[in-house]
Each structure stands twice: as C-alpha cells, then as structure tokens.
Symmetry: C2
Subunit: 105 residues, 2 copies
C-alpha cells in the first residue's frame, strides 16, 4: 500500500514448543487462565490453539523445545513424514534453538 517496492508476504509461525515439567498440569493452568483450545495432548507433549498461533508444551527429555515455521522443509534436508501427513526438517539457529521447517501437506 503506497510502497514503491513489491513486498513479499511474511512467513507464518506455526507453533512454539516450550519446555515444561508436567503436560497435564500445564494444560490445565493455561486453559484456566486463557481462552485457548486443546488441539492435542498426551504425556510428552500438547498443542494449544490461540487465535493466531499455537503454543506447544514438551517434556524436554522426550521432545525438544522448538520453533516451528511454515516453509519448504526440502530446502533444509530430507523431510520426515509425520503420521498426520505433515512433513518437516529440524535445523538450529546460531544459538542452538531447534527450528522446525514445517509443511502441512
């Protein structure tokens, strides 16, 4: 709008997975304090949907904390296919944070 250059659409952050000690206790706390919806929950991880993005919780010994960004995982390696039909590759940022490049289909 009013800019001379063509602007590229920004990428979408799919979810951020933060480390917790107990998935059930954590999901209970967030759903009591915020309007969010549980998309998935089991012992080592859960996915909470907010209006604009999802927040995941992981028990770090079983599932590493990570930042998931939508993109083409093939640009980063051989994608791993997940049971839900998504494909992804993990890489690391310079600080060592796990970054998941995720394709939903």
């Amino acid at each position: 709008m009013g800019e001379a250059q063509t602007t590229t659409p920004l990428d979408t952050l799919h979810h951020v997975a933060v480390a917790v000690t107990n998935i059930g206790v954590t999901v209970d706390w967030y759903t009591r304090h915020f309007d969010c919806r549980v998309g998935y929950q089991d012992d080592p991880w859960a996915l909470l949907h907010f209006a604009n993005v999802s927040l995941a919780f992981v028990v770090p010994e079983q599932h590493p904390p990570h930042i998931a960004i939508l993109g083409d995982p093939r640009e980063y390696g051989a994608p791993q296919k997940h049971r839900d039909g998504t494909r992804s590759v993990y890489t690391r940022d310079p600080a060592g944070n796990n970054v998941e490049i995720l394709a939903l289909e």
Copy 2:
C-alpha cells in the same frame, strides 16, 4: 458456524521470547532464512514480526525468556507501564515459564 453453543473468541499470543547468545547474529540468521521483519533490535533483545505473531530474542542474563499473551494485566497484579504505552504483568506457569499478560493500550 453451525455450533449450538456460543463460542468465546480465543486469546491472542503477542510474542514468544526465546533465549539466544547474540542478538545480532540471531536476527541476521532468521532474516536470511525467513520472510520476517525486524520490529525492534538492540543489544539485549529483538522483536521479529511474522505474518501472524512476533518472535522475540533475548539475552537471558538481561531479559528473561517469556510468553506474551494479550489480556488484562490488572487481573494478575499492578501493571508495569512501558515506554511504548503498553502495560503488562509477569506471572509464571506451573513449570516456571514466565508469562507476560500484555495490554497494548
């Protein structure tokens, strides 16, 4: 749509701030790999805008990692007023993660 119950709108996650070792190196890596826009950057922290949410980077010795969710901070304590006009209160989830309840105005 088609649901019998009234559904409450979901809350909005404003940003997640993850720990890094060097802000400049990190911002350079994310902006080279992803279409995102630098909203703010100085030595202890930066804010990158994605299409749907922002991702912040913090040097944890100076600024704690946290999850920022839009809401009424007064429900959690006496809000701190920031220079940009926003107000917030920090609380902790059961795992000890810092959760910032943020009002933009």
